[in-house]
Amino acid sequence: MPLLQLVGVSKTYGEHDVHALKQVDLTVEDGQLVALMGASGCGKSTLLNVIAGLDDIQEGDIAFDGISLKGLSDEKITAVRGEKIGFIFQFFNLLSTLTVLENVTLPLELLGRQSHKQRMAAAREMLHLVGLEDRDQFFPAQLSGGQMQRVAIARALIHKPKLVIADEPTGNLDSDNGAMVLALLSKLNKELGQTLIMATHSAEAAAIADRVIQMKDGRIVT
């Protein structure tokens, strides 16, 4: 059974019915690293949002890990997202008032899972994996862009999600830091076996993917 299956998904925005997604069909297998490419405004981010249940859809169905998201209450979709999906953003989106360690433990805390001690241990392990164990008491503002994205990766993975969604993860980094982040994502995908769907403009990012999907005008073209 595929981890994710979209059938005939369409999404329109606003009063003027802007068609962001048009009859999208997509199947992603467990453990795949998928790169989603296309010009700005082609619907990559919208597709990621509907996969995560953050945006509702007008047509079609989305099945994630055997559960149909269609018709699920916000509460249930939030629970699925919290448990099974991790996010990595272009602008890192760390909480500026929390330390690195606190940012990383946040998903576990929101889930109310594990004891404080276990959460700390898990966060330290993740920080070790991304090479930032010595920065655990720093605040985001005290880190470089590459370091912030590595913290974001640690946060996205700490609760061992089945799916990691990355929206332009290297879009806000220089080439060295971008390469380092991509190497890390590839390594973690291989080592932890988590599925990764990554929206990107970068050919380097696409190069590490098992599969590249091209989008245009809200449709998957290849």
Binding site: A52, E83, L98, E109, L111
Partner: protein, 876 residues
């Protein structure tokens, strides 16, 4: 930039933002409106009280420009007319007048105080104008006829008939009194009937006392009051150029216990008398204004902080600093204008209620003038407008400077403001500490002309000082909270504390607003509770008599209602009575200030009383010394006149000024005007007055349980034709507490308003914080946070602010209560108040404020829960 371009930019950049943040804009306008409305309502109420007094003085005095009045008491012997009559040769006209309170018995058996004005119907038309009701309706003043008779009313022979009177239109209308009706009056311990000869119109004398008066020929009035040959005043019309000459002649020829003054002088004296009360009431309205100022400061600061990146962008696009400043200035003016205008409208509507609330206090303690409807003056609206706009501008100034100082580069750094505030927390702490130190020094300074200027300044500096310390306290407390709150509230606890810590500038303003509101509430509650406890203790300890006897007129509120001295001997004869002590009090003009001269039977008081003295000496010890020209004075009098034990106080008597040595100073809370109490036997000799205003009755120990029986026996003894009232100490105590609570009712209303405005401020800050935290909330939604969790974060923020506000408010409230009790109250009224903290009230209010603060977080919490994650990220 052209004016048109500026207006376009203002519309797009400022007005759209105001419209977008409707709730916060409305809260801010409401905060200013509330402050301005309370200020206007109270100032209208205060000025109405005084203008009613002034209006009445003018109408009763008419064209008189000088008046002769007693320095002690309310009446004097009319024989002095002999000294005045020769002055007619230089063009002086004179008219004796009686102007006394009497108690009217209404048909519904209720009583009310009205004024009895006795005039010389033949001489008086030169002084005043008169209208009867019919003439009034036709707008034709009846005025004075050539034959010297006052209009139709006076020309009606019945007005000169025995036991007849005219009544004011208002009184007639309210009580359905007409020509031929009978009015019944309690005078001292008698009930007197008068027949109504006519109803006066509202113009001229008939409009004095708001038309609630009874006018009679002077002989009839003297008969009613049973003070034949006595008058309250003699009004004089002097040719303007002869005024000084007349005054000099009168001073030389009149008895020494008479004062020569002018109607204006009487108004000035009334103003002096009520000044402390008025100023203190007005000062309380500044509470509401100050919290309103904080709201403006809060809103503008948060707007500027939130829009820093946009301001930076405008600056980068070439918009000058001055344009940025002008835009925000216009925004502040707009908010101020809306708030002030609506505040003025609401204030006018509130003024009648405020007048009702303060008029009883004015009437109880200062002068009896009816005050039914508020009488606003145009300049009061202008003043309220100036105060509203002025304070708005003062409050908006720091954020305006902040807005104009944003540089394009700085604006892109999200946390530059926060880091700056963090750097400033130490200087702020030091400034706060310095201000508190200065407040302490100021609190030690004496009053200026009886007004505690330095006390109020010290209170203001304490408020600013404590508010300056808030950022420091929060910067240190919030990290601690973020460590411990997760234990109780999970991750939401940490997020609430860290987010507040991350937005310290906004958090500090909101917490300080609430702290000030709560501090006002706490300090006023402590002051009122302390005062109440002090008064109760004072009554319990000082009022040792078992029964208190007075005339019906006095019991119904006429302070000059008397009993004959012989009544004391009658009372002593009643079985069960151990002793009876006579007490008499009269108004005293001392150095142009009003006070009371009283006389007591100190020999009885020494044996049975328990007066408490500042010196700590026993009642017996002091009272034994009170013989001859020795007096005890009340604490407020001592404070006002700066007198101490051993000093002397000079009082006017018919036999010339007499000096009394101050034997001791006693605690007294009956009047802030002050008392001088001298031995009654000496008083009788000096003033030829044997009457008393009250009699303290001490029962035999075995008769105390039969108090009601003894009371009945005394009442039975005076049944025939005498209207007296006997109250037990318990009843007296309840009455005193009832008056006390009524006096402070408006204070309670004011501090409720202060806390309401403070809570608006918290809601305002939470809205801003929630809007500011939209991005963080969106991230949390991405990470799997449920809507309820986001709501909980906001509610916890509200709870933290509520708690910090409560704790800070308690601290500042304590400081303010010390200033109120030991400096402001002491210097204004001269009362020593025993400090007492109403723990129950403070705990209950604290919980209520906390719950309300959390409730004020509900709308922002809903906003947080509605955060749409993708839309926020799309905004990025």
């Amino acid at each position: 930039m052209s004016p048109a371009a500026f207006i376009d930019l203002f519309k797009r950049f400022v007005l759209r933002d105001l419209a977008h943040n409707k709730m916060r804009s409305l809260l801010t306008v409401a905060g200013i409106a509330l402050g301005v409305s309370v200020f206007l309502a109270i100032s209208i109420a205060n000025s109405t009280a005084l203008s009613r007094f002034g209006d009445t003085v003018t109408k009763v005095s008419g064209k008189a420009n000088l008046e002769v009045a007693p320095a002690v008491g309310t009446v004097f012997d009319e024989s002095v007319i002999r000294d005045i009559a020769p002055l007619t040769s230089i063009g002086v006209k004179y008219s004796p007048i009686i102007d006394e309170n009497v108690i009217l018995l209404r048909r519904d058996s209720e009583t009310e105080m009205v004024q009895l004005v006795g005039i010389d119907m033949l001489a008086d038309p030169d002084f005043k104008t008169y209208q009867n009701e019919e003439a009034d309706a036709k707008a034709e003043p009846v005025g004075v006829t050539d034959d010297g008779v006052a209009g139709k009313a006076a020309s009606d022979v019945s007005v000169f008939s025995p036991a007849t009177c005219l009544v004011g239109a208002n009184l007639a209308q309210r009580l359905d009194v007409r020509k031929g009706s009978e009015v019944k009056l309690y005078v001292d311990d008698r009930l007197v009937s008068l027949t109504v000869a006519d109803v006066m119109g509202g113009g001229g004398l008939g409009g004095a006392y708001s038309g609630n008066l009874i006018i009679a020929d002077i002989a009839c009035a003297q008969e009613v009051l049973q003070n034949g040959g006595k008058v309250s005043r003699i009004d004089l019309i002097c040719p303007p150029d002869a005024s000084a000459q007349v005054e000099t002649k009168l001073r030389a020829s009149l008895p020494p216990d008479l004062r020569i003054t002018s109607p204006e002088g009487r108004m000035e004296q009334a103003h002096k008398m009520t000044r402390s009360f008025e100023y203190n009431l007005l000062a309380l309205t500044f509470i509401a204004l100050m919290v309103g100022m904080f709201l403006i400061y809060n809103t503008m600061t948060i707007t500027v902080l939130r829009r820093r990146p946009e301001i930076g962008t405008l600056r980068a696009l070439g918009v000058a600093k001055t344009i940025v400043m002008r835009m925000f200035l216009l925004e502040a003016l707009l908010l101020g204008l809306l708030g002030t205008t609506s505040g003025i409208l609401v204030g006018r509507l509130m003024a009648d209620g405020a007048l009702k609330a303060v008029s009883k206090t004015f009437q109880q303690f200062y002068f009896k003038i009816p005050m039914e409807s508020a009488d606003p003056r145009p300049e009061q609206y202008l003043l309220a407008f100036a105060v509203g706009m002025g304070l708005t501008m003062i409050a908006a100034w720091p954020p305006l400077l902040e807005a104009s100082s944003v540089s394009p580069a700085e604006a892109t750094r999200r946390n530059s403001q926060e880091s700056r505030l963090r750097r400033w927390q130490w200087p702020f702490l030091l400034i706060g500490a310095a201000l508190l130190g200065l407040a302490y020094v100021l609190s030690l300074q004496p009053a200026i002309s009886g007004f505690p200027v330095f006390g109020y300044l010290a209170a203001l500096l304490s408020i600013i000082g404590c508010a300056s310390i808030v950022p420091f306290l929060l910067a240190h407390a919030l990290p601690v909270l973020s460590r411990y709150l997760p234990t109780l509230f999970g991750v939401e606890g940490r997020l609430a504390a860290t987010t507040l810590n991350g937005t310290l500038s906004r958090t500090s303003v909101a917490a300080a607003s609430l702290m000030i509101g709560i501090a006002m509430m706490v300090s006023l509650a402590i002051m009122i509770s302390s005062f109440r406890k002090t008064v109760t203790l004072w009554i319990d300890q000082s009022f040792q008599a078992d029964l208190w006897m007075q005339s019906k007129a006095k019991a119904m509120g006429n302070k000059s209602g008397r009993l004959q001295g012989a009544v004391i001997d009658e009372v002593r004869k009643v079985p069960g009575v151990a002793a009876a002590e006579g007490f008499v009090e009269r108004r005293l003009d001392i150095g142009g200030q009003q006070a009371f001269l009283a006389a007591a039977d100190f020999d009885v008081l020494a044996e049975h009383g328990n007066q408490l003295f500042l010196s700590g000496r026993s009642n017996k010890e002091v009272c034994k010394q009170l013989v001859g020209y020795r007096a005890m004075i009340s604490e407020p009098f001592a404070v006002r006149k700066n007198l101490k034990r051993g000093d002397s106080v000079t009082v006017a008597t018919p036999q010339g000024d007499k000096s009394f040595v101050v034997e001791d100073i006693y605690y007294d809370y009956a009047s802030d005007l002050g008392y001088v109490i001298i031995p009654r036997d000496l008083y009788k000799k000096l003033y030829g007055d044997d009457s008393v205003t009250s009699i303290a009755i001490y029962l035999e120990p075995d008769s105390v349980p039969r108090l009601d029986e003894v009371r009945k026996a005394i009442l039975d003894r005076f049944k025939a034709g005498r209207h007296i009232s006997i109250a037990s100490t318990l009843e007296l105590r309840s009455e005193a507490i009832r008056i006390f609570d009524r006096t402070f009712a408006i204070t309670y209303a004011l501090h409720t308003i202060a806390v309401t405005v403070a809570l608006l401020s918290v809601m305002n800050a939470l809205f801003a914080l929630t809007l500011e935290s939209k991005r963080e909330f969106a991230i949390l939604r991405y990470l799997g946070a449920r809507k309820a969790q986001l709501s909980r974060v906001v509610l916890l923020q509200a709870a933290i602010l509520g708690t910090v506000g409560n704790i800070g408010g308690l601290g500042l409230g304590y400081v303010l209560s010390l200033l109120l009790i030991y400096v402001i109250n002491k210097q204004s009224f001269g009362w020593s108040v025993q400090y007492s903290i109403p723990v129950d009230f403070i705990v209950e209010s604290g919980i209520l404020v906390l719950v309300t603060a959390i409730a004020s977080g509900i709308p922002p919490a809903r906003l947080a829960a509605r955060t749409l994650a993708p839309s926020v990220v799309r905004d990025e």
